[in-house]
């Protein structure tokens, strides 16, 4: 449905040219919900704007529904208004001089093919009903709350049933309570309208919860792309591991190895643990071990052995869970404890690891 090949975009800035997007590829099947996730400045919004036609790519091609809309090599650049898309902007961009109805009716009035007057009325009301705003059709745009503006923006984006729906951090301007509610609502709406969707966000919770596919972007490139559970559990790079959720990243050294299984000693730690390591690494190599707090178990006795020994440095009660920081050698490991268990700072503890849930990278040169 949407196919992006070798997309790159560079700007001229006061400090010389800036390469915001450095040649990325991705594809969204019809009806798919695809999220680009990344920190601010990673190029995700630029990518979205290139797809929308608001920016002209400096390299690569974009096709929507089989039609090439941008091809930098051949100088093809279809302007935004000819691309048959719907877009929800970060600031919603609700026109202040129109009421709710006229905001939503606008795409039907201006886009080709033209829609009859009676049809417009019906389609606008249907879209407003979908977002639960049908009673506010005549309300001036300046009198809307953040959540209402978001709904109107969504209704406006889907009212002409475009081929592709683009969402640019639509939840980032809402307060946290409303954001969670709107996240669920938006997910529900998107699945109901069944339009191929490209979603851009810096919020990993949104990305994980909503999409079929997530692309983690960093520094103008896609670091990893795949279904959310896979990207979460099998991060391809250190960046993906640390950006998605909470992760422990520890420097360690292989003591001995037999095939893929190796005995590993943590830098500065006292215990050795058994892990699976990528091929090509052997005794004496430094590695980075990544694992999630929820994949560890904290205990006050040594147990079966595949555990790191340390002292409890901080314990903070979070309601459903108690977050613990355990000092292991020079590093701090984050783990969780059931909130009913009481523990004291300074208590000796063992953090046991599940080798199958640890990801190992060859250590970065430092």
């Amino acid at each position: 449905m949407l196919k992006v090949t070798g997309l790159s975009k560079s700007y001229a800035s006061e400090h010389g040219p800036v390469e915001a997007v450095k040649g990325i590829d991705f594809e969204i099947p019809a009806g798919g919900f695809f999220t680009i996730l990344g920190p601010s400045g990673c190029g995700k919004t630029t990518t979205l704007r290139c797809v929308a036609g608001l920016e002209r790519p400096t390299g690569g091609t974009i096709s929507i529904g089989g039609r090439v809309v941008a091809d930098a090599g051949q100088g093809i650049h279809l302007p935004a208004f000819r691309r048959d898309i719907g877009m929800v902007f970060q600031s919603y961009a609700i026109w202040p001089h129109m009421d709710v109805f006229r905001n939503v009716a606008y795409p039907l009035q201006v886009a080709k093919p033209r829609v009859g007057r009676a049809d417009i009325e019906a389609k606008v009301m249907e879209a407003l009903r979908l977002v639960g705003m049908e009673k506010m059709a005549r309300r001036p745009a300046t009198d809307l709350s953040g959540g209402q503006q978001q709904r109107v923006a969504f209704a406006r984006a889907i009212v002409r049933q475009p081929k592709l729906l683009l969402l640019d951090e639509p939840l980032s301007n809402l307060d946290s309570k409303l954001r969670e509610q709107m996240r669920d609502e938006l997910q529900e709406l998107v699945s109901r309208v069944a339009i191929t969707t490209l979603y851009v966000t810096h919020d990993q919770a949104e990305a994980l919860a909503m999409s079929n596919h997530v692309a983690v972007m960093s520094d103008g490139m896609i670091a990893q792309c795949g279904p959310p559970p896979l990207v979460y559990s099998q991060p391809a790079t250190r960046f993906v591991a640390t950006f998605l959720g909470t992760a422990n990243l520890l420097r360690a050294r292989i003591v001995s190895s037999a095939g893929r299984t190796a005995t590993v000693a943590l830098d500065g730690g006292t215990e050795a643990v058994q892990l699976e390591v990528p091929p090509g690494l052997g005794a004496g190599d430094w590695i980075d071990v990544v694992f999630r707090p929820e994949d560890t178990a904290l205990s006050f006795t040594q147990g079966d052995g595949n555990a790191l020994y340390g002292t409890l440095e901080r314990i903070s009660f979070q309601g459903g869970v108690s977050e613990c920081h355990v000092r292991v050698g020079r590093a701090v490991v984050r783990s969780n404890l059931h909130p009913s268990i009481t523990a004291q700072r300074g208590d000796p503890v063992w953090v046991s690891l599940d080798p199958g849930r640890c990801v190992v990278f060859a250590a970065a040169a430092s």
Binding site: A52, L54, P79, F81, I85, A93, Y106
Partner: protein, 580 residues
């Protein structure tokens, strides 16, 4: 944006202290005096007679004779009112067409040389209107204008013309061009404050650029366009200098020159009462426009759609329109800045000779020599700086204290005060001059004819600073002052150590602005002139109508040379702010 909770700054009146209270009360009284006393005198004069006496001289009485004689005069309806309307409508249309095109090209397209437009536009903004007017006469006078000479020579035409600055068309051209910078700066600000995402949303909805322009851009900009439109109408309506130097020879009389004519009739004595009677509807029109303006800006505030994070607007690629756009800019630059500057330099050295290589050998610096050895010139220099500087200081201080009183105290009547200070925008300069003339001729304190009366007259422009310092003061959270009070600082200490340092940049800005306005002023000093208080713009005009053209041009050139460094300084300030 810092939102100021009104509660945190409440109930402050008590801890101002005696010294502070005195200072604020002084500022309040000064405001009321500077604006109301002349206006009161003006209103009274309209109803006092006989007409050639000052309103409260012995022997005068209340009368409707002034009003009756003015409003029974048929030429008022057949000439003055239609002329004023045609002049205003024509100039404002011309101004807006040029200013909007320039602003749009600079802000929204990728036209090259965009920063140059800023530089060009600052020239007519800073150079006094009277200098531009004289320069255009030198270029476009039907018989001697250099441009006319050139056109006649090129096309082999005989007689006068073809262009004639002394006509309604010439008047509209001059005023229209002269007001472009002011409107241009307001429009670029409006264009810049518009969130480009609103246009992008229209684009992604399937609207073509033209549809987007008419259905989204224009409607959203409407308050931001109408407010400068009203302000430009107000400024043009009160215009005096162009109608005086271009309209009078053309026998085109507008309201402002009609008032002047009543004060300086050809044969009779000055008719103070009649002048005041002409002023009344003019004043009412000004107030009405001001009311509209106020309503518009309030709506504009509601429409302001800047968001914190945002992309720089995507500029429209003008492509093959590049040459026409640059030609338009060049044409404006030629008439507004380049040709006027060149013709002044030429006339100051060669008088009325038409430019040629042969003429170059007859360079004659007499204009400059006379100027430098003229005591009158040096007194005018002194007066200009004294009056512009003095009124700017006075108004900045009073305006700042006034804003503080309006925003931070709970004094009764603050709203009225705000309105009174705002009122001064709607008072035409001619009327302010007339009102001050009436007041200080009547008051037996010997101020009339001195530079001090000019400082007082210039100072009616309180609205400029009150607006600027009010905007700045709203940004300074009341808690910053409260923190100083809690730390043990008295009111005066707090003002001196906390408020003033934070307010300083905007106070400096309003001082500079007022200084420039004062430097350019012509209407007030010409109405209130005496031998002792002439300023540069006045002596230049007098030299010019006294046929001392090269000396007038020498004065004009000197002023332009003084202003050019200021243009580059201001350009850096304007563009520097844009970059951040």
């Amino acid at each position: 944006m810092v939102a100021i909770p009104s509660e945190s700054t409440s109930a402050r009146g008590a801890d101002v202290g005696i010294a502070g209270g005195g200072l604020l009360a002084g500022a309040v009284l000064a405001t009321i005096y500077l604006i109301s006393a002349p206006l009161f005198m003006l209103l009274a004069s309209a109803f006092r007679g006989p007409r050639d006496m000052l309103p409260f001289e012995p022997g005068t009485q209340w009368t409707f004779a002034n009003l009756a004689s003015i409003y029974a005069d048929k030429t008022l309806y057949s000439a003055v009112i239609p002329n004023t309307l045609v002049f205003t409508a024509g100039s404002v249309t011309l101004t807006f067409t040029i200013a909007f095109t320039l602003a749009w090209l600079v802000e929204r397209t990728d036209m090259p040389l965009r920063t140059t437009v800023f530089t060009v536009v600052l020239f007519p903004l800073l150079v006094p209107g009277i200098i531009l007017g004289i320069a255009w006469i030198l270029l476009l006078a039907p018989r001697t204008g250099l441009l006319n000479l050139a056109i006649r020579a090129t096309f082999g035409l005989g007689g006068d013309g073809p262009l004639n600055i002394f006509s309604m068309g010439g008047l509209i051209f001059a005023q229209g061009i002269a007001l472009v910078p002011f409107v241009f700066l307001l429009l670029t600000a409006a264009l810049r404050s518009m969130n480009p995402v609103l246009e992008e949303a229209s684009n992604t909805s399937g609207a073509s650029p033209a549809v987007t322009f008419f259905r989204v851009t224009l409607p959203i900009l409407r308050p931001g366009i109408l407010a400068p439109l009203i302000l430009a109408t107000l400024v043009t309506l009160e215009q005096f200098e162009m109608p005086l130097i271009l309209g009078l020879p053309a026998r085109v009389s507008v309201f402002a020159t009609r008032i002047y004519f009543e004060l300086n009739p050809d044969t009779d004595l000055p008719a103070y009462g009649r002048a005041a009677a002409v002023a009344l509807p003019f004043l009412a029109a000004g107030m009405l426009l001001l009311w509209f303006y106020n309503r518009m800006t309030r709506r504009a505030d509601r429409f302001v759609t800047i968001t914190g994070k945002g992309y720089r607007p995507t500029r429209i690629e003008i492509g093959r329109w590049k040459l026409p756009a640059l030609a338009f800019v060049t044409l404006y630059a030629a008439f507004a800045a380049i040709l006027p500057a060149l013709v002044l330099v030429w006339a100051s050295l060669f008088g009325y000779q038409s430019p040629s290589w042969a003429a170059l050998s007859q360079v004659n610096p007499t204009g400059y020599v006379n100027m430098v050895y003229s005591a009158r010139f040096w007194m005018a220099v002194r007066n200009t700086f004294l009056v512009a500087g003095g009124s700017a200081v006075l108004v900045t201080i009073i305006g700042a204290l006034l804003s503080w009183t309006i925003l931070r105290t709970r004094w009764p009547g603050r709203g009225v005060l705000d309105f009174v200070s705002f009122l001064s925008i709607g008072i035409p300069s001619v009327i302010a001059g007339l009102a001050c003339m009436m007041l200080y001729l009547s008051l037996p304190i010997g101020l009339y004819g001195t530079v001090w009366v000019l400082i007082l007259a210039y100072s009616y422009r309180l609205a400029v600073t009150t607006r600027l310092s009010k905007a700045a003061l709203t940004q300074i959270h009341g808690e910053l002052e409260e923190a100083s009070h809690v730390a043990g600082g008295s009111w005066l200490t707090t003002i001196r150590r906390v408020v003033l340092p934070l307010l300083a940049p905007s106070l400096l800005a309003s001082f500079v602005l007022l200084f420039i306005i004062g430097f350019r002023e012509f209407t007030l000093p010409v109405l209130l002139q005496s031998r002792e208080n002439e300023v540069l713009s006045v002596i230049m005009w007098k030299l010019f109508i006294g046929n001392q053209t090269s000396q007038a041009a020498a004065v004009g050139t000197t002023i332009v040379v003084l202003i050019i460094p200021v243009i580059f300084l201001m350009r850096r300030l304007l563009l520097g702010r844009e970059a951040t």
